[in-house]
Symmetry: C2
Subunit: 341 residues, 2 copies
DNA sequence: CGACATTATGACACCGGTGTCAGGGTTCGA
DNA sequence: TCGAACCCTGACACCGGTGTCATAATGTCG
């Protein structure tokens, strides 16, 4: 036997037609139990595996999903945000459970990625991951919708299409942080992140935070906000610039854990004690949060659930079934550790 | 135009045959420049994308690699070892650079994964990642070799086939740690990990460590060794059991960062100060290492280079080209932080 | 016992490309 | 003017499955 065995080989050895082999192996009820046993046996012996390319070509589907990871072009090329890595892990598992394969790809935000994966039939659907520029995305969403590509997106809302998004309730998360700081009596807050419309997730966190503060007569003054992307370095620099301008505060909310960790470094370098002088809270609950100094209070996003939800919703879209929109906004959870006392 | 455009559609609108379309789009020198321009133009307008399934079927290759991640069945299901996640990131990038797609899959060690991905033509080659049971692997390697599947493996050696492995020079890394502790005058060492043949990487680290110690008249006594897999919890438990037996030491080498971080927790809980009472060194240089308390001294494995090497070697195997065996053992680098003073 | 339903199977077209081969048209040298 | 060489193009078989349709074999019932 040269090369791999085909269904014709199996047919030959089992003394049936190729059609019957195909049916037998896919559990068609049209084939006699006895015949099936014989076919399966021969297939096992010849170590036969269905050729996915042939099968997918004919069936016009791929049993494959694609994950596209977008990275902030300004962030460090070599390091991938651990939050998305953890998400990737849970997506992979969820895919496996559903019998789908997973293609992974990194895309720089500027890339002309389009709907390539789906249009070339490499994947049945696409999952988009990344903190990114909301404006820039919208046109790409349109392109995907135009070409009737099935996709779901983490975080960013697709205008008028709630079924395409799975996200954490960022505003509720921000509110949890505010509530926590209020209870600690630390309402003179700084915010490091990006409250503008460029970053829908960060701004939602900020808005929820600010709204809750205002309910208690506090608020974040413009002066105490600094812009950062989700890296330790960026959080460090942003905080440093606040301190350099001699801005005072007794609490700091970092829009992501990496930002908060960078902020802590800046604070400590400036001789401020965390949490004694400044309470710090992050967002994400990365594995790092537990181990850093001091252990970081943060808002946990349930990545396992998020991954399952993304995959489940995408599969529903592909099957033209109803998507559970109500449960696609995941509840965040406050994790209090030493950094906020 | 219902459904996606095919090469026949392009042919129709460009006024040429389907064969010419195929040739034109793949840059065949057989096609006239003027004709090619016309075809490309029409293809762009109709938003045509080559169907990968058809193309792969005919060409009998997939331009896809698969990564199989093995996890210790005893480790926490929900958390993926960050070291491999980081590796995954660099592999993804290396793949993209070579124009290959990447399939990602998790496998429990017990799984009957076999050569499925390659045999069903879903991937041209396979990358194996994971700390695992060496014995268990060997039979699976045989299976892969038997079916002539192209694969490379991180860490574990494939008997007599050095071209199939990319690894860090674990022994050299262990030696670096020993040297460092010797210079600190901390030669009364504990080792947490697995020095048995079950874990080729951990035992290589231990052996290099022990050998260097012995060159300086020291060594690790049997009593000061405890077995752990690569999780924080396991490192914590193992260290705790040593301490419970009242074993004393002034240095501790954790076979991985997660182990070392767990060890630090156990030490601190027991009232021991790191590094004042015990110097702790890990292995991997996870992102966490920099942020934990105290920042962890460790041996860095260059995951970026490792990913590139894995992909490059695999592509060479697929193309039946020579593999750069000499450079497939990557040099480790000692990173000294506070945990070892 | 003939009409008809039921079950199991084979033949065959088809999915959308790729590679081979044959042939039409032009140019160039003899 | 004729043939060889060259360039470009189209026709067609083929990759390895899947789904449809036709049909043979067996069973059921009036």
């Amino acid at each position: 036997m040269k090369g791999k065995a085909t269904s014709f080989d199996i047919a030959h050895y089992a003394g049936v037609s190729q059609s019957t082999v195909s049916r037998a192996l896919r559990g068609s009820p049209l084939v006699n139990e006895e015949t099936r046993r014989r076919v399966v046996e021969v297939a096992r012996k010849l170590n036969y595996k269905v050729d996915k390319n042939a099968s997918n070509l004919r069936a016009q589907q791929s049993s494959t999903l694609a994950v596209l990871l977008f990275e902030d072009p300004t962030s460090d090329e070599s390091q991938i945000n651990p939050f998305f890595l953890s998400m990737l892990g849970s997506i992979t598992r969820a895919c496996a459970k559903s019998g789908y394969d997973l293609l992974v790809s990194f895309q720089s935000t500027s890339n002309d990625w389009h709907a390539d994966y789906a249009e070339s039939h490499r994947a049945d659907g696409i999952i988009l991951l990344g903190y990114g520029d909301y404006i820039d995305y919208q046109s790409k969403f349109d392109r995907l919708i135009d070409s009737d590509t099935k996709f779901v997106c983490w975080g960013a809302n697709v205008e008028g299409r709630p079924e395409l998004t799975v996200s954490c309730d960022n505003a509720a998360g921000g509110a949890l942080v505010a509530q926590h700081l209020i209870e600690l009596g630390r309402t003179d807050c700084a915010f490091i992140g990006d409250a503008s419309h460029h970053s829908p997730e960060f701004s939602a966190r900020f808005n929820g935070f600010e709204a809750r503060l205002q309910q208690h007569g506090a608020h974040v003054s413009e002066r105490k906000m600094a812009t950062a992307i989700s890296t330790e370095e960026s959080g460090y620099q942003a905080t440093k610039s606040l301190l350099a301008n001699n801005i005072k505060f007794n609490a700091l909310f970092g829009a992501s854990d990496l930002i908060a960790i960078g902020a802590i470094r800046a604070l400590q370098e400036a001789g401020l004690r965390v949490p004694h002088d400044v309470s710090v809270v992050g967002f994400d609950d990365l594995a790092v949060a537990r181990f850093c100094t001091p252990p970081l209070s943060t808002v946990q996003q349930n990545t396992t659930l998020a991954g399952q939800m993304l995959v489940a919703n995408l599969l529903n879209l592909i099957a033209n079934k109803e998507v559970d929109v109500a449960n696609s906004v995941l509840p965040p959870q406050l994790i209090v550790r030493q950094s906020s006392k």
